[in-house]
């Protein structure tokens, strides 16, 4: 299957449904010890460090936030310097055209604004999210009260659906894990 990835039309996944945070954390670690590669876990709430247990790389969102903050800071300084110092200097009591203390509030607000908007935009783009985007739900209960462990069959070559299901069941999945096909 991996040889013809370019023309692959769909992927097959086996999903195990768990009913408690502790159970899913246990299962994620144990199925990996048993040689399964976990594709993803869907949960109704954030679970700290779950991404680390699955082996996802650390997110670089904070770096994006810092870059946007720097951008906002620089833009504000440039804007105020240009407007008050270069384009239309005003004499106010003989004081400097560009005064650093009075730049502080606007620069701070612009830094926060651009950092927040830029970071959230990065978040949406990196997750392929946006208004009206179609979701693919392996099991709709994963936004209610269930934790869904998804195993990609392509990434676990040599293991049949039956074998994968057995491993998921062994660590507490609900009866009969099922297979889901997702169009490429």
């Amino acid at each position: 299957m991996s040889n013809n990835k370019l023309i692959k039309e769909s992927s097959r996944y086996v999903i195990g449904v768990y009913d408690h945070e502790n159970a899913i954390l246990n299962a994620v670690q144990r199925v990996q010890e048993d040689g399964l590669r976990v594709h993803e876990v869907f949960s109704p709430h954030p679970i700290h460090h779950l991404d680390v247990y699955i082996g996802h790389p650390r997110t670089r969102i904070p770096i994006a936030a810092f870059c946007f903050a720097t951008l906002g800071f620089s833009l504000a300084i440039l804007m105020i310097t240009f407007m008050l110092g270069i384009d239309w200097p005003m004499i106010i009591g003989g004081k400097n055209y560009v005064s650093i203390p009075t730049m502080v509030p606007v620069t701070f607000e612009a830094t926060v604004l651009i950092a927040a908007l830029g970071m959230v935009a990065t978040f949406f783009i990196s997750n392929n999210m946006g208004p009206g985007k179609e979701e693919f739900s392996f099991d709709r209960r994963s936004t209610d009260d269930k934790y869904v462990l998804v195993v990609d069959m392509d990434k676990n070559e040599g293991k049949s659906q039956e074998e994968i299901s057995q491993i998921l069941l062994k660590y507490g999945a609900e009866a009969s894990p099922k297979m889901v096909e997702k169009a490429a």
Binding site: H20, H56, T59, E109, A116, E135, T143
Partner: protein, 504 residues
């Protein structure tokens, strides 16, 4: 195994499961409007309608309809502006500062408090628009290229700082609020979609629940909430990014929320008017903002709790904790009042001393007395645990605090202006019906938006409450132990030790 002190009260009462939480929060979104909601919404609409007449007159005739005059150039309108901005501080404080302090009790109230923040800031902004007299040129307050010889706004002016502070605050709060809403919107979307298809995955529901869901086909809900949920799937990778985004937004919002009222206070503090020209204003205004904001959150949450039957989520524990913050910030405000008075005398400046003596004993003594009584004396009642946990007393006191905080701004603004340096300019400010009507308009706007929010969006942050449930609720923890011991061969202890939500 993690050990939690039994003294700590659970954040969610009555041994709720995650599915119960989803049902309880979604039912008001999915069901038909209830009679209490209709009554509350109707009253808000009436207020909004009456207020709109007043606002339309103000816009048509100009702000000459107000009671302002040459001596008192700022009065009701700026009082209302500062009051609403202050109220708009609690939401971000709860969701950002309490998040950084790892206060899990904020999870039940942060959503509604954030919504309240956004609506309060909108109300505050509307007074700035009204005060411009010509609101259609409001964009002149922004540094935009223009045809007047590239004349820019003056960045040395605190009023320009205000434009940036308020608009940034509104934008960042709205973004923070919406990002937090997405997982819950996905929950509602999925419930609507499940009801559309004959989905066999409703195993957790009872037969009746399943039947009810499938009978309640909601194609419009499925469509609308699909758009609003942004395609949320809730994978671990996305949650990890989401948590970072929330944390950084909280980190950004914390100085932001403190900066907003600091900058509002500078509108006064950077002037040379006796009574305004004080360095204590920034911390004093911020404490006052949190004080009034929490009072408004309490007023609204006590109503919401009854209207939507959310007693299991907004518990007496939550109310008591908020009352403690009110006592603290109320006392800070009280100390600030006394400090101001002392410094006015200690400065030896005649005009400064007179401004404060005039405040307390001049023609507006009644406003000063109301302020002292409502803001300094009344929150001291919360030292009693019985009163802190009494719903009626909390409701009444929360309204009293907000009345007091309105008087605080009125006292600062009007009493500092009404007696000018020239006794011939002395005047007694009286509001007109349009002053009152415009204030009513913002009440109508605020409550209309709040009740619309409460009907169509989840008022409680389900995802966060569920996360807090597993670590704070005894029953949920027990279920976790059972989930591990029975199904995973009794070897779950290792994982529970690794994953301790209190430490992570």
């Amino acid at each position: 195994m993690q050990v939690t002190s039994p003294i700590r009260e659970p954040l969610v009462l009555n041994k709720m499961t995650m599915h119960n939480i989803t049902n309880d929060v979604c039912k008001q979104v999915e069901g038909k409007p209830t009679m209490p909601w209709l009554i509350c919404f109707g009253i808000s609409l009436v207020l909004l309608g009456l207020g709109t007449i007043s606002v339309a007159s103000t816009w048509w005739y100009g702000i000459g309809t107000w009671g302002l005059n040459k001596t008192v150039g700022w009065a009701w309108d700026i009082t209302n502006f500062v009051w609403w901005v202050g109220i708009g501080h609690a939401g971000t404080l709860i969701s950002a500062i309490l998040m950084l302090f790892r206060q899990k009790w904020r999870t039940s109230i942060n959503r509604a408090a954030e919504a309240m923040t956004i609506f309060a800031v909108l109300c505050a902004g509307s007074f700035i628009l009204f005060h411009m007299g010509r609101p259609w040129v409001a964009h002149w307050a922004l540094p935009l290229p223009n045809t007047y010889g590239s004349l820019w706004v003056n960045f040395n002016s605190p009023l320009v700082w205000d434009v940036f502070a308020i608009s940034t605050y509104l934008t960042v709060s709205s973004v923070f609020w919406y990002v937090g809403l997405i997982p819950d919107l996905a929950t509602i979307r999925d419930r609507a979609k499940v009801s559309l298809t004959d989905n066999p995955l409703l195993a957790t529901d009872t037969k009746e629940e399943r039947k009810a869901k499938q009978e309640k086909r909601r194609p419009i809900g499925a469509f609308m909430y699909s758009i609003m949920a942004f395609g949320w799937e809730g994978g671990a990778k996305v949650w990890a990014r989401y948590e970072y985004v929330s944390l950084i937004l909280a980190g950004l919002s914390t100085p932001l929320v403190l900066s907003v009222h600091t900058i509002v206070s500078m509108d006064f503090a950077t002037s040379v008017i006796p009574g305004w020209h004080t360095t204590i204003f920034p911390p004093y205004f911020v404490a006052g903002a949190i004080f009034s904001g929490f009072a408004m959150v309490l007023t609204l949450m006590l109503i919401t709790r009854v209207v939507f039957k959310l007693e299991n989520y907004i518990t007496l524990e939550h109310i008591e904790l908020m009352n403690k913050i009110i006592t603290l910030t109320g006392s800070i405000v009280g100390v600030a009042y006394i400090t101001e008075f002392f410094i006015a005398w200690y400065s030896g400046v005649e005009y400064e001393s007179y401004a404060f003596i005039n405040r307390a004993f001049g023609p507006y003594w009644w406003a000063y007395a109301a302020m002292m009584l409502c803001n300094v004396v009344s929150p001291q009642l919360f030292w009693s645990r019985t009163i802190r946990r009494n719903l009626v007393a909390t409701f009444v006191l929360s309204i009293i605090v907000n009345i007091g905080m309105w008087f605080e701004r009125f006292v600062i603004i009007v009493t500092s202006l009404h007696r000018d340096y020239l006794p011939s300019s002395w005047i007694y400010f009286r509001p007109t019906i349009y002053d009152v009507g415009d204030y009513l308009f913002t009440f109508g706007l605020f409550f209309t938006l709040f009740f619309l929010f409460a009907k169509f969006l989840p008022v409680i942050n389900m995802a966060e409450v569920k996360a807090a449930l597993n670590s704070s609720d005894e029953a949920a923890r027990e279920r976790g132990v059972i989930a591990l011991s029975k199904k995973a061969g009794g070897e779950g202890v290792k994982i529970a030790a690794v994953h301790n939500p209190d430490k992570d």
